[in-house]
Every structure is written in structure tokens, then in C-alpha cells.
């Protein structure tokens, strides 16, 4: 193995990871230097470590024992949590990578052996995500020093590093396997394969979101500490077991589990190299969706839409269902609903006033965020293929209408589903359900129009890893405006108990919504016309 080639490759792959996701001038410059990762890691450990030490020293006496217990639990959990996090991040990075962006292609034509590539890639992934164990270690450092657990901390650090490499090796394994599966499974399974991939991706993203829910993470950490002993024969818990047995005062077991962990890491590395060598498919897979002879569509999809508008809508639906990097947008409603409902549970009393107070964050916010994101990204997601729309004889109104259709349809379905869920949980009066449904639908229209305006004003056509399809500022502005619009539309309903209104508050909300929608529709049409007059890619 050529060590210099491995080193150069890992540097290039790290730069590719850093620069592939950087968009702004500031981050594209300083933050794209691999050295910045070491600096961030060091800063995290020193700042959080010192802060943690200071806070513990000021903690009340009755808190000391539980804090010491918590610190031990954190130190034990660090290796396993690191491993799972790396695997999740790695999978998400793979999923959000457009098919056009294939940074690992060079291995196919440069004189680099599979083992050199795998080792280089593992080093690169480990280094890029090193902030994860650094963050966890930084949290554990202050208390560890205070309670005199420095040996346990050192062991946790070492095992965290081993776990980092195990996680990176697993990511490399997954890459090869998904590449292979894509090339053989999807070729045969066509549509069903695409549907399966989509469902799995959404499930994965929801799980990922749940992992970031504070409540779930704490119970997971607690459970993990207790569970590692019970499942000592499972290799992924060996690094944590090394720390746990040390904290329990054992002398031989930490060494044994540490050695086993290292052996497991090398075994995974060997397997990754073997799979890469044997199963990597360098050419893009050819997926056949049908063997039927061509039958032209020609049918208008929705009444009121002409052929061109229907064609764009059909194309956008296919884009949402077939592009692996688009699955995250489909996962948004599930992620939003699950995370918000998990944080808000239990919901409190079920009076009409409190129901409306709960409805705004729990119902309108997910609806608004989902619709505006789907809509804001609808123009930028055309990517380099935007020339097709530029050369098409389309009027701005046609494009706005067609692009608005998908977020509106999806938003309406999501609104109905969310409302059904709320009805089952709260069992509100039918009039409240009707009010919320009308309010939800008008917000869907407003957000879809707002999204097209923002998407046309701040498009990002670049096809990179985790493409946003809309600039950072556009996305920020769109989200803030979207939330403001939703609040404005819901205001009459929220304030109905405080203000005397001559008409039902929902009617006021709908009237406000209609005015906002008309203004946004006109602005979106003007902006699309401007965008279509001069290609930006």
C-alpha cells in the first residue's frame, strides 16, 4: 500500500466533502481548509471542557453524585454513540448526493488500489466527522477531571477513536453495498425498487430526527449504558464495554474489549477492501421502468391546467419520487410532525382556546414549513437541466402555476393527514376541524406562492452534495416570511377571544390569506418572468 497515495487521497476526499457542501464566500474560503477541523475539535474540547469543570465546581452538593453518575454514563456511551452517528451521517451524505456528483469516481481511472482508496476514504470520513466524538468528549472532559476519572476519560477517547474508524469502515461498506444493490436490484425491480428506496430513506430520516430529540437521546444514553453489558457479544458495543468495565474496576476486561474492538475495526476494514475490490460497479446503472410500448400521455392531469403545465407537474412528481436526493423533502412532513409532537407530548387540557393555541405550532407550522420548503426548492432543483425550461415556449404564469401545483397538492394532503391525526388525539368539535382545515388550505396556497417567489429570486442551480436549491439567504428569508404569513392568517382565530369580531374569525383569516396569496402570486409571476429572461447557469 502506497502511504503517500493514501494520504493525498484522504486530503482530496476531505476537501471534496468540505467544499462540496460549502456555498458562501466565507465558508468556501477559510472553512474549506481541512485544518479548520482540528481547530474546531481543539476549541470544542478546551472550551466545553473548561466550562463543564467550572459549572460542576459551582453545582449544589446534592447534585454532585447524580452528575458523577451521568458523566460515567456519557463516557461509556461515547464510543457507541459516535459509531452510530458516523454511520447515520455517512448514509445521509450518500443519500443527499446527486447522481451527478461522484467524488469517488477517480478510483475508477487513477492507478489507486481498492485498499488504498478504502483506507483513504475511511481516514477522510473519520476526520471530517471527528467533531462528533470531540463534542461528546468535550462534554465529558470537565466532569471527568473534577471527579478524577481521567483514566476512564483517556480510555473513552481511545475507544471513541476506534469507534470512529469502525463507523467510517461501516460507511465504506454501505457505499459499496448500495452501489452494488443499485446496479443489480434496481435494474430488475424498476418502479418497486425506487419506491422501496424512497420508503427506506424516509424511515431513516425520521429515525435520524428522533435521535436528535433531547428526550429520546437522554433515555437512549441511559438505556445504552445498561444494555451494553447484556449484549456483550455484539461487536458494536465492545468499545463502550471497554470503558464500562474499566469504570467498574475490572483490570483484564477493559484490555480484552479494547483489543476485540481493534480487531473488529481491522476486520471491517478488510471486508470493506474485499467488497470494494469484488463488487464495485464503476458505470452508472441502467434502470428500466417499463417494457410496455410507448403510449403518449396527452391527458391533462388536473382540470384547469394546460398540456405544458400538466407536463411540468408530471415531471416534478417523478422528480420527487425518483431522485434519491429529493427523498429528504418528502420526509419533511413526517420529521416535522414526529419531532414537534414528541416535544409537545403530553398536550395539556383540551379546551377550545388552548386547542387553537396548540394548533398554531402543531398544525400550521409544519404545514407552512413543508409547503414553503417544497415550493422554494422547486426551481433550483432543475439544476443544470434548467436550460430545458428556458428554451421552452412557456409564459411566466404557466411556470408559476405548474410549479405551485405540486407543493399545493402535497401540502393539502399533508394538511388533511395532520388534521386527522390531531382529531384522533384531541377529539375536537367538528367546527374546529373545519376551521383548521380551511385555515390550513389557505396557508398551503400562500406558502406555495411565497416559495415560488423566493425560489425564483434566490435560486441555487448547483448540483452538489446536500444541494439546497435555494440560496442560504433565500431559504432564511422564505422561512421567516412563511412563519409570519401563517401567524398573520391564524391571528383572527387566535385573538378571537380577546377581540369582538363582526364575522367568524375563520372568515377573517381566509380573507387575509386571499389578499396575501394574490400579492404573492403577482410577485412570483414577476420574479419568474425576470428569471426566465436570462439564464443563470
Amino acid at each position: 500500500m502506497n502511504a503517500r497515495a493514501v494520504y493525498r487521497l484522504s486530503v482530496v476526499l476531505t476537501k471534496s466533502q468540505l467544499r462540496g457542501t460549502r456555498r458562501q464566500r466565507l465558508t468556501a474560503g477559510w472553512f474549506s481548509n481541512p485544518l479548520v477541523i482540528i481547530i474546531v475539535d481543539a476549541m470544542l474540547i478546551s472550551a466545553l471542557g473548561a466550562g463543564g469543570y467550572f459549572l460542576i465546581s459551582k453545582a449544589p452538593a446534592d447534585m454532585i453524585a447524580p452528575l458523577e453518575q451521568l458523566d460515567l454514563e456519557i463516557l461509556i456511551a461515547i464510543p457507541t454513540v459516535t459509531m452510530f452517528m458516523i454511520i447515520l451521517f455517512g448514509i445521509l451524505s450518500e443519500l443527499s448526493q446527486p447522481v451527478q456528483s461522484t467524488s469517488s469516481d477517480l478510483v475508477n481511472w487513477l492507478p489507486i488500489s481498492p485498499s488504498e482508496f478504502v483506507v483513504g476514504s475511511i481516514i477522510s470520513v473519520s476526520y471530517t466527522y471527528s467533531f462528533l466524538p470531540s463534542f461528546l468528549l468535550a462534554i465529558g472532559l470537565g466532569p471527568a477531571l473534577y471527579f478524577g476519572h481521567s483514566t476512564i476519560f483517556a480510555t473513552s477517547t481511545t475507544m471513541g477513536l476506534v469507534a470512529l474508524l469502525i463507523g467510517s469502515s461501516a460507511v465504506e461498506l454501505l457505499r459499496t453495498l448500495t452501489n452494488r444493490i443499485s446496479s443489480s436490484f434496481y435494474r430488475k425491480s424498476g418502479r418497486s425498487g425506487i419506491f422501496l428506496r424512497l420508503s427506506l430513506t424516509i424511515l431513516l430520516l425520521v429515525c435520524f430526527q428522533l435521535l436528535f430529540s433531547g428526550r429520546i437521546v437522554v433515555s437512549l444514553m441511559r438505556g445504552l449504558t445498561q444494555a451494553v453489558t447484556a449484549v456483550w457479544y455484539v461487536p458494536v458495543v465492545w468499545p463502550s464495554l471497554a470503558v464500562q468495565t474499566l469504570s467498574a474496576g475490572a483490570s483484564l476486561a477493559p484490555f480484552a474489549f479494547g483489543s476485540l474492538s481493534t480487531c473488529f475495526m481491522f476486520a471491517l476494514l478488510g471486508l470493506a477492501v474485499y467488497l470494494r475490490k469484488s463488487y464495485w460497479v464503476p458505470v452508472p446503472v441502467s434502470i428500466r421502468l417499463s417494457s410496455q410500448p410507448y403510449r403518449p400521455s396527452g391527458n391533462r392531469l388536473i382540470p384547469g391546467f394546460d398540456n405544458a403545465e400538466s407536463a411540468i407537474l408530471r415531471k416534478d412528481i417523478r422528480s420527487l419520487l425518483r431522485r434519491r436526493e429529493m427523498a429528504r423533502f418528502l420526509a419533511i412532513p413526517f420529521v416535522l410532525a414526529v419531532s414537534m409532537w414528541v416535544s409537545a407530548y403530553p398536550f395539556g387540557d383540551k379546551s377550545s382556546a388552548s386547542l387553537f393555541a396548540v394548533a398554531v405550532p402543531l398544525f400550521l407550522v409544519p404545514v407552512a414549513v413543508f409547503c414553503s420548503i417544497l415550493s422554494m426548492t422547486s426551481i433550483g432543483q432543475e439544476g443544470s437541466a434548467i436550460w430545458i425550461l428556458y428554451t421552452a415556449p412557456l409564459r411566466a404564469t404557466q411556470l408559476v402555476k405548474a410549479k405551485m401545483a405540486l407543493p399545493t397538492i402535497m401540502g393539502a394532503v399533508f394538511t388533511a393527514a395532520l388534521l386527522l391525526g390531531m382529531s384522533l388525539l384531541f377529539k375536537p368539535a367538528t367546527s374546529i376541524i373545519v376551521d383548521l382545515l380551511m385555515l390550513g388550505l389557505i396557508v398551503v396556497l400562500e406558502e406555495s406562492a411565497l416559495g415560488i417567489y423566493i425560489g425564483a429570486k434566490f435560486p441555487d442551480f448547483r448540483e452538489i452534495i446536500r444541494s439546497r436549491y435555494v440560496s442560504v439567504w433565500g431559504s432564511l428569508l422564505g422561512t421567516i416570511l412563511g412563519l409570519l404569513i401563517a401567524t398573520l392568517t391564524a391571528a383572527p382565530l387566535l385573538l378571537s377571544e380577546l377581540l369582538q369580531m363582526p364575522l367568524p374569525p375563520t372568515i377573517f383569516g381566509i380573507m387575509i390569506g386571499m389578499v396575501v396569496f394574490v400579492v404573492l402570486w403577482r410577485s412570483a409571476t414577476r420574479q419568474v418572468k425576470l428569471l426566465m429572461s436570462d439564464i443563470r447557469v
Partner: protein, 254 residues
Amino acid sequence: MATVDVKRISKSYGGRQAVSDVSFSLQSREVLGLLGPNGSGKSTIMKTVSGIIKPDSGDIQILGTDVVKQPVEVKKRIGYVPEAPRIYEFLTGVEYLDFVADIHELEKNEKQERISEFLRALDLEGRENDLIHGYSQGMKQKLAIIAALLHRPHLLVLDEPLNALDPRSARIVKDLIHKLRDDGVPTIFSTHVLEIAEAICDRVIIMYEGRIIAEGTTQDLKTKAGSAGSTLEEVFLKLTGTSDTQEIVEALSR
């Protein structure tokens, strides 16, 4: 009346002048070749003529319609193929063509007939239900060419259309360009391959650094360059001041 009438157009990107004060016209029953080294402004002219980008100044009339003022009307009558076309990779070949035909409001029967005919002619039959993601560059190029021809355009704007095509398909496209020209559908055509320009184009424009440095039939250009017996390649290299190739080859082979 000329099919294309370009008067004194200029276009810059940031501080870089891509096209400077360019004028030319194109008659029906004519194939016009745009030649020039990389970065000479050919693609910018193609995009400007097609209404994809707006010139900073100047006037472009296509079939009597102002491109800047009525781009949609012009786009209905143009067939455009960009250099290295990027096509929606999540669609199948036939879904993409169906999409383009719908955008151009083709009738159902006409659409079916023309798509099937073109797929057969350019050897894409049998692969039309595969996702474009799995297509080779040549197959994507064929799709882009079919998409440009589906709606029976009145003008073709083709930026390096023969790139990556197999010899049979290239021959079909070349013959089709001539047939359409004879039927009154002119073509603006850009290429780096001078033999192709010589074989296809009735008239050529040589561009260099955003300006037209020569215009005429290939014979005219050879005469103007004072080398009537030379190839178009020799004339091109002489006119663009890039004829120092021998020295470069010497240096590289050392």
C-alpha cells in the same frame, strides 16, 4: 426577409466581454456554421439567438419577431440543442420526449408518431423506457436532438450537435439538416470539427475573442486568407492566430 437578423449584439458576464458588436443574418435554405476556439463566444450567440439570454445591447429578429420582446413566440419556432446537454436523469427517454412534446402542445397522435419515428431512426428503440441516468453521452445527445426536432421548428440552433454521436447517427443528423434546409428550415450550427463544418455548412463565420473575424463560404475564406489550396483547418488557424501548433507539439513531446 432574413430568417435570422442579428444586429450589433454585445454580451458580457461580470467584467468579461463574451460577445462584442456582432452582426450577421441567415436566410432560409441556408446552414450557417459558427467556428471559433473555446471561449470565442459561439455558445453565447447561440443562447442569445434562442432567447435564453438577453444581450446587453443590439437587436435580434427571428422570423420577423424580436427575441428580447417576444421570447416565448420565438421559442415556439426554434429547435435548440445546447453543447453537452443536461437532461432530467430521473425520467426515461420516452418520458422526456413526451414532456417536451407536451410543452410544445403537440397532438397525441402526432406526438406518438414522431417520437416513435425518431427513436427508431436514431437507434434508441428498446432503450426508451430506461432512465436517462443510465444513458451514454451519445444517447443523451440523440435525445436532445430529437427533442429539438419534435415540434417541426422553423429554425434550428445546434451547439456542437454531433458531439459523441456514432457515425450512423451523425450521418442521419447531417442529412436531416440538409433535408430541412432544402425544405426551408435553416440551421445555425457550431462545431470545433472543421471537416464537419466544411461538409455541412453553406456559409461559415469565424469568431475570435467575441468578435467575427471572417465570414463567407469556405472557398471565400480560403481565398481571403490567401491560401486557396489549403484546408479550412489551416485557414482557421491562420485567421485566429493560433497556427503555432508545431512548436507546442515539439515542446510537449520533449
